[in-house]
């Protein structure tokens, strides 16, 4: 009695998983879109000339397949967002004019994404210099690639990885002449020269994010998204290099990093407060130094008092 159902399920799985695998980003060569959009060139049958043709792919339309398989949207297929009419080639010209879903279309007003506060992020973004310059054309995806985005800051335990990932988002335009000019209308400022005033520039760029100084810090948001105009960027060293560091409200706000500092090796001796200069970044050494100082002072005072008393 059981055999018919087993056969039925097997046949069902055979026919259903085949297409699923073919549509997987893992297998780009067999993916209907990626077989062209993951390669430098593509081939198609020119039905007018009736011959097979090979052409170069527009480099902006080549997708990072490794990134796709790791991105936050990896479970979606291309046509979940793009029109299914892209299935034919040449693609219809009018498809380009159709609006695509925005991030808020899915993420806005949804209880399951409430903790990300997308609506507030949107409101903050609307105050930012990005919105003022480029209006609604400046979409979320200008920074957060919908294809490959990974929530590094929330999940990584490695500060340098977080910093690098986040800074690449800014640099993808601010260090790219074409992209920067398209949005701003003028050439991109030379970052190294603009930041000449910053001591140890290279180390700063590797250890803190651009947004640490270039956004308004809001306690209730991970990142405010109100990117400030350059005149308002932070230039005061002590804003970070102090016990009450700005970084605590920004970079070190993430629980994954806080946990690391709590559970880290030799935490009692060396806490994760590296932005304070010197040995006071370790609370243990700070206490030890105060005790040694007081003991030395007490010794001197007692000795001095005895000298005065005995001399009379």
């Amino acid at each position: 009695m059981k055999y018919p159902s087993v056969i039925f399920i097997s046949v069902f799985l055979f026919f259903t998983t085949g297409p699923i695998l073919a549509q997987s980003y893992q297998n780009a060569q067999h993916h209907k879109c990626l077989k062209c959009h993951s390669n430098q060139s593509y081939s198609f049958l020119n039905t007018v000339k009736n011959k097979e043709e090979k052409r170069l792919m527009n480099p902006y339309f080549i997708l990072d397949t490794v990134g796709l398989t790791h991105g936050v949207h990896k479970q979606f297929d291309c046509t979940d967002c793009h029109s299914t009419e892209y299935g034919t080639y040449p693609h219809l010209a009018t498809l380009k004019l159709q609006p695509l879903s925005t991030c808020l279309d899915c993420h806005g007003g949804d209880a399951s994404f409430a903790s990300y506060q997308f609506e507030r992020i949107d409101a903050e973004f609307k105050k930012s210099v990005h919105y003022k310059v480029y209006g609604d054309n400046f979409t979320c995806t200008k920074c957060h690639s919908q294809h490959t985005y990974v929530a590094t800051a929330r999940n990584s335990n490695d500060v340098l990885e977080i910093v690098n990932y986040d800074n690449q988002m800014c640099l993808s335009c601010h260090n790219n002449m074409k992209k920067y000019k398209m949005v701003s209308g003028h050439d991109n400022p030379k970052l190294v020269e603009v930041h000449e005033w910053l001591p140890n520039q290279e180390l700063h760029f590797a250890h803190v994010r651009c947004i640490e100084c270039h956004t308004e810090v809001i306690d209730s948001l991970k990142v405010s998204h109100n990117i400030l105009p350059k005149e308002k960027a932070l230039k005061k060293c002590v804003e970070c290099h102090s016990a009450n560091s700005r970084l605590k409200a920004s970079l070190y706000k993430y629980q994954n990093l806080q946990k690391r500092s709590e559970n880290g090796t030799l935490n009692t001796v060396l806490a994760n407060e590296s932005y304070i200069i010197g040995s006071h970044q370790s609370p243990f050494l700070k206490l030890a130094s105060i005790i040694i100082f007081l003991l030395a002072l007490a010794g001197i005072l007692i000795h001095g008092i005895f000298r005065i008393l005995i001399k009379k």
């Binding site: 005061k236 002590v238 016990a243 060396l270 010197g278």
Partner: protein
Amino acid sequence: MAATEKLYFYPVWLRIWHAMNALGIITLIVTGISMQSSIESSHILGFNLIVKLHNIAGILVTLSYLIYFIGNMVTPNGKFYRIKPRGFLKRPIQQAIYYAWGMFHGMKPPYPISAKRKFNPLQKYAYVMVMYMAVPFVIISGIALLFPEIILDKVYAFSGVFVTAVFHSAMGFFISIFLMIHLYIASIGKSPLENFKSIFTGWHQVH
């Protein structure tokens, strides 16, 4: 009254070094503490200026250390720093007992200074530790922090800059404690100001 003998203890080069060193070290301590506590002291001196001052004073101390190091190699002054293995612990302990107890009970100093003995054993040990260990360490780690890109990225689990910074300020802290005690001990003499006069004039009174 015992006749007082005058000894020319502090030659000109040594006094120049001592003055440069004193000025530099005091600046380094004040600016170092200010940076470490990151007090926004823009009313007095801004953080950036404090950092600059610290760097300049650090270079001054490094240069003056070269005067000291070379001076002690080429002049007879260097021999006062030699520690003999005999009575390695006994001699400084005797001196410590004198400071803590003997001097209040009319005891004579166990190692009175003379032309042959410029420093008592405890003093000698302290000077050797500060001048041949702490100061070179603080200079080397300071140069490293001036050019942080030359520092190793990781020392085991810790950032190299972090380890260097902690080491640098720990050494700086011990130098600060030394300075406190140094200034206090200098006040132990015939009169509290006598030794301070000597380091200006070069002449030391032996009673």
